[in-house]
Amino acid sequence: MSAVVTGLGVVAPNGMGAEQYWSAVCDGKSGIDRIRRFDCTGYPVTLAGELASFDAAEHVPGRLRPETSMMSHIAFAAAELALADARLDPADLPEYERGVITANATGGVEFGQRELQNLWSQGPSHVSAYMSIAWFFAATTGQLSIRHKLRGHCGVVLSEQAGGLDALGQARRALRADHRMIMAGGTESALSPAGVVAQIPTRNLSTRAEPSRAYLPFDADANGYVGGEGGALLVVEDADSARERGAPTIYGEIAGYAATFDPRPGTGRPPGLQRAMRQALADAQADPRDVDVVFADAYGVPELDLVEAEAISAVFGPYGVPVTAPKTMTGRIYAGAGALDVAAALLSIRDGLIPPTVNVTRLAAGCSIDLVREGPRPSQVRTALVLARGHGGFNSALVVRAA
């Protein structure tokens, strides 16, 4: 059994749909700009990768809009795109062999903030009844399950910004067990004052105002990351089932996956990222020499960049493999980031192009990696390793391979 991706549903700050997003990242076009969703004057963080032209009315039925938050609105759009791309009507598959697994880190925070403001300023009767469901981390999975009749395995993975990869790893597990199809990935939107402020105490967000000088992973001038909204949902199918139904495109196989957790600070034990990478490669029965590109987690925080660069060098040798971070053009989309990077990795395989990492000019000391900054770089890509980490010690690694 193998798990293959047959549909890409991408909603990104620099492009709606997989093709628009892909051409934007290959052109080095960024969606990071000053926050417009709310007046960010006076906030220490003023930049984000915002979905500037996303109109929920275009993508979400009228009955569902008031019930759901922006993270779910994005998911409705991404799911439609993914199913259309896969030319799949889930109803054509056995009822309990189709499911949905999403990852989430920030919840429907803009919805929750609005209703809490109603509570404080006007009283309990002014709080929407949908406060009971819309903000919740699992809301998106539930809504997608209902809307697309995905009645088998339904789950949500909470592992902060590593979640997008973990959802795909879980999807593969469900396909191995007894499923034919899983919609998997993550979408996020935390662009309300409460959503942004909640991220600030990690001290990992850039407080710069100049979009091209804020999120600079692996750069000597790295100073934190910029957040983003959007994400990706992928149609993942059992390979035999996909061929049997005549899926038009098989983008690639989810060949390996592993997740680890960092040791408690002060133990002296090494961070878990390298172990996740090696385990994912072993799971894929791949040698480091087989890997043609690494899509880095690229935190943009100097010590975390160093951990990642050292792990990559340890596995592949210094400057041993091309490394890129297209999320420098979207911001870090929390639990949506991993799934979006997997979409990019699959398009790299399809087109033989490695998209660039933008704005990085001088590698930090100790970051001995071949960071693709020109671009896109033509290169035959058969196997890609995608990395994601979450605040608090989450590490995930996923291998995609040409089918």
């Binding site: 039925p61 009228g62 009955r63 008031p66 019930e67 009767s125 002014h126 929407s128 009844a129 949908y130």
Partner: protein, 85 residues
Amino acid sequence: MPEFTAEDLRVVIRGTVGVDDSVDLDGDIVDVPFGELGYDSLAVLEIANKIQKEFGVAIPDDLIVELETPRKLIGFVNQEGAVAS
């Protein structure tokens, strides 16, 4: 209280829970159960909340399941409104 009409209800519905693409809310809906119009109990609760805010008529939560059509809901609001005024 002035009479609470089907048109008032339509305005409340549009402003709170929205309308399913397959439903003609301007059509003859007064005897169509809320469930068939695409409104589950949570949606009717939301509609009832709005009516309380805008028209001052409280609809107890446990009554909501019994007010299963727009006609029954409108009737209850007018009856309670008349008692209150």
